[in-house]
């Protein structure tokens, strides 16, 4: 395990050790596995979305406003996450921490809106995941994404603390870079959820 910076290395700090390069590669492969996981959930949703079993249909259920706010919050958070990594590359540890905190707040805002949407469906429409196969697959697909955002938020808190404690080192920059990859991945998944679940559901 080569944890030292190679002599004469000129590239970005997060790639400066062999250990970091391996961790970043491994994380990309992990994201490949995550893609398969979400693909299965999407497949289940597409197959089951018509099986409403007398419960509400997608068209009757979905709230346009809540969904739009969630999308804006999460897409913006991906942009601010990109700015965080940009600051990191410029060598500004404070900039990195501030933009990560903004990203985290946007992520928490997204979660708040999502939970509120779920509660609305459950409490006001009586649409729980036990109502129909469509709602089972809806809650599990969107909920799995939400659970990923929750875990990502907890993780990001840990990374922010480490950046504030230690500044920019080969290790902290690599960790920040990897949480950035994860965050962008969740954003990409949301784009698919937005298209496949909400847009298709409200039009068809």
């Amino acid at each position: 395990m080569a944890a030292h910076v190679d002599p004469g290395y000129k590239g970005p700090l997060e790639y400066s050790t062999e250990e970091s390069r391996m961790n970043i590669l491994g994380f990309w492969i992990f994201l490949g596995a995550e893609f398969v996981l979400f693909s299965c959930l999407f497949a289940m949703y597409i197959i089951l979305q018509g099986s409403t079993a007398g419960g509400p249909t997608p068209k009757e259920l979905f709230e346009f406003k809540s969904m739009l706010i969630q999308t804006l919050l999460l897409l913006t958070s991906s942009f601010t996450c990109g700015l965080a990594i940009h600051e990191m590359r410029r060598g500004k540890s404070k900039g990195l921490a501030i933009w990560l905190i903004i990203t985290l707040l946007l992520g928490l805002g997204f979660l708040y809106m999502e939970i509120e949407e779920f509660l609305l469906y459950v409490n006001h429409e009586g649409a729980t995941w036990g109502t129909s196969a469509f709602l089972s697959s809806f809650f599990v697909l969107v909920g799995t994404h939400g659970a990923h955002v929750t875990l990502g938020s907890l993780w990001m808190i840990g990374i922010i603390i480490q950046v504030l404690q230690r500044g920019l080192t080969p290790r902290t920059t690599r960790k920040a870079f990897i949480i950035g990859l994860y965050w962008h991945f969740l954003d990409v998944m949301w784009v698919f959820i937005f298209t496949v679940v909400y847009l298709t559901g409200m039009v068809v």
């Binding site: 944890a3 961790n23 491994g26 492969i29 490949g32 596995a33 996981l37 959930l41 089951l48 036990g130």
Partner: protein
């Protein structure tokens, strides 16, 4: 829940198992305490991140599980030995064939291949450990937690009884109301996450940690098989994760994925299960192919025939493995179009597999073959696997499969490929790499006895089952009345006992050799070809004192021919990772988490989950940099 629902009661065999579990636990604790070995166990094994020790633990667990699964097999064969036997109740029989299948695939074959990979792959590529040693330990403990959880169902709560495929709606809450099916779901879920992590770990290890000069085209065939297997793992296991999670939601939280009511689709479980399940059988067979390739080449004293063809074949098998899943349920009625596609894709697999068989034969052609124990298993593999493969092509023909479906013909087919392929390969690998791990060979004479008992017993068990299948005997029946089937069934049962004797001889062989075999500590006892034979035996914990430069395939073989040393040059200090107790603690917490979920006890599952999160945070905030091994220490260990 009352206590007599919590513990399984009523069957004398279960009481005997209860007693033996308690006695074995007391004996282990007593022995460890008497010999003051607790600290040794903790520092040397439980907290280790050394890939070789993790590999040994995997293999030990696999052998234990082979014993458990084998006993299940024996019980089934006793029940089926003659018509109208009264040895097992139908319920008990259902549980036994379920646990037999699940244990043999997920808790015997999987840890055995992970054990072999851990033991040999880093040594073959000239690495000091895997890419993520800590994660490697966590993978093992996740597997172990899952295996223990699954086995616990036997005495606490009741075993699953819906088959190892756990088809819905049979496995749904409505039709399997007990906790047995929950054990299945959580046992597989925990070990599956561990397998996924291992897959990522091995890919990165092979791509980034090969010795300088070892291009992909010079990489040993076993390592190639590990790379391809790991890719399948990464893309297949998430499907299992999803399938298990959705069925868990159905059973515990009232969702409607696989239920008959509420618009659910039970057949989607079957699809998801086999979209993982079919790649899974290639996950377990490809490393065995890799081991056979190494052994054939070593004991024929020849370079492996057709290196590139072997690699391309494995890649083709890996690709095809993802588009054949529906051949497990032609009778579902998807129509001739779908069945034709899956029929053709399934038959295509015979082509790359055939290429590999001919390559092994061509490697032996004009070679100077020495009939050692690993080579015997390899030689036996070829005809047995061909029998299994050819019957596989017969099963692939969709119209004919309507006759074979769910019969003993199928049972015999997959036992021929899984035992004749995977089990033979793992035992061959165990005999082959044993001296590298421990510094002495397993006794050859005993090994040959074990081989012949097992080999003959195996064929006596399963060949009659082909005929029974063609005579119409269906699988998963606990009793039959047709006396035409009795002679062949009796032969099959006798064969099973012979396999049992073979297994016991192999276990005795291991025991005897540990006690009495001469410690030769030869670096290269087999006249080997690949890098692992260039380092001392038993392999030092850091594997390579210096990382060699690789110029060709089979570097050790050609260096020996030229009278050169593979590992040479000045010693320098190098870096190694520290041990960690977090993986084993996390494994324990995952076990508690799973156990809580099995019984729906959230007061138990939630604190365990918080504990897991704390462990992960501990890991994130841990800035331990490992340690350096000094030149003096290497000199002391290697005696230079």
């Amino acid at each position: 829940m009352r206590w007599d629902e919590f513990f399984v009661t009523g069957d004398p065999m279960i009481y005997a198992a209860d007693a033996s579990i308690v006695l074995a636990t007391i004996a282990i604790v007593a022995v460890l305490t008497y010999f003051k070995k607790w600290k040794w166990l903790w520092t040397e094994w439980l907290t280790t991140v050394d890939h070789k020790k993790i590999g040994i633990m995997y293999i030990l667990a696999a052998l234990l599980m082979m014993f458990r699964g084998g006993v299940d097999g024996l019980l089934m064969r006793i029940q089926l030995a003659a018509p109208e036997m009264k040895f097992l109740e139908s319920e008990h029989y259902n549980q036994i064939f379920t646990t037999h299948g699940t244990i043999m695939i997920l808790f015997m074959a999987m840890p055995f291949i992970f054990g072999m990979i851990n033991v040999a792959m880093p040594l073959q590529i000239g690495a000091r450990d895997v890419a993520y040693p800590w994660l490697n330990a966590l993978s093992f403990w996740l597997f172990f937690a899952g295996a223990m959880l699954f086995n616990l169902s036997f005495v606490i709560g009741g075993s699953p009884d819906a088959g190892w495929t756990s088809y819905t709606p049979l496995a749904s809450l409505e039709h399997s109301p007990g906790v047995g099916q929950n054990y299945y779901l959580w046992g597989l879920q925990l070990s599956g996450i561990g397998s996924l992590a291992s897959g990522i770990n091995f890919i990165v290890t092979i791509l980034r940690m090969r010795a300088p000069g070892m291009t992909l085209s010079k990489m040993p065939m076993f390592t190639w098989s590990v790379l391809i297997t790991s890719v399948i793992i990464v893309y297949a296991f998430p499907i299992l994760t999803v399938a298990l999670a959705l069925l868990t939601f159905d059973r515990m939280f009232g969702t409607h994925f696989f239920t008959v009511d509420g618009g659910g689709m039970p057949m989607m479980w079957v699809n998801l299960f086999w979209m993982w399940g079919h790649p899974e059988v290639y996950i377990v067979i490809l490393p065995a192919f890799g081991i056979f390739s190494e052994i054939v080449s070593t004991f024929s004293r020849k370079r492996l025939f057709g290196h590139n063809a072997m690699v391309i074949s494995m890649i083709a098998i890996a690709g095809l493995s993802f588009i054949v899943w529906a051949h497990h349920f032609y009778t579902m009625g998807a129509g001739p179009g779908v069945n034709s596609f899956f029929s053709v894709s399934t038959m295509l697999i015979a082509i790359p597999t055939g290429v590999k068989i001919f390559n092994w034969l061509a490697t032996m052609y004009k070679g100077r073959i020495s009939f050692t124990v690993p080579m015997l298993w390899t030689l036996a593999f070829i005809p047995n696997f061909v029998v299994g493969g050819v019957t596989g092509v017969m099963l692939a023909a969709a119209p004919a499969d309507y006759q074979y479906h769910n019969s003993y013909f199928l049972i015999s087919h997959f036992h021929y490929v899984l035992i004749g392929g995977v089990v033979f390969g793992m035992i061959a690998g165990l005999y082959y790499w044993w001296p590298k791990l421990f510094g002495f060979k397993l006794n050859e004479r005993q090994g040959k006895h074990g081989f012949w008992w097992f080999m003959i017993g195996f064929n006596l068990t399963f060949f009659p089952q082909y005929i029974l299948g063609l005579m119409g005997m269906p699988r998963r029946i606990y009793m039959y009345t047709n006396t035409d089937w009795s002679a062949l069934n009796m032969a099959s049962t006798i064969g099973t006992f012979m396999q049992g004797v073979g297994f016991l001889i192999i276990c005795y062989n291991i025991y005897w050799s540990i006690r009495y075999a001469p410690r030769t500590n030869e670096a290269d006892p087999w006249n080997g070809r690949t890098l692992e034979w260039a380092i001392p035996s038993p392999a030092p914990y850091y594997n390579f004192s210096r990382i060699p430069e690789i110029k060709e395939m089979d570097p050790v073989w050609y260096a020996k021919k030229r009278g050169e040393k593979v590992i040479d040059g000045p010693l320098e200090k190098f870096h190694m990772p520290s041990n960690s107790g977090v993986p084993v603690i996390m494994g324990g917490l995952f076990f508690v988490f799973g156990f809580g979920f099995v019984f729906g006890w959230f007061w138990m599952a939630i604190p365990a989950f918080i504990g897991i999160l704390i462990c992960m945070a501990t890991r994130s905030f841990d800035y331990d940099d490992g340690y350096y091994v000094s030149v003096d220490e290497v000199k002391k260990i290697e005696g230079v």
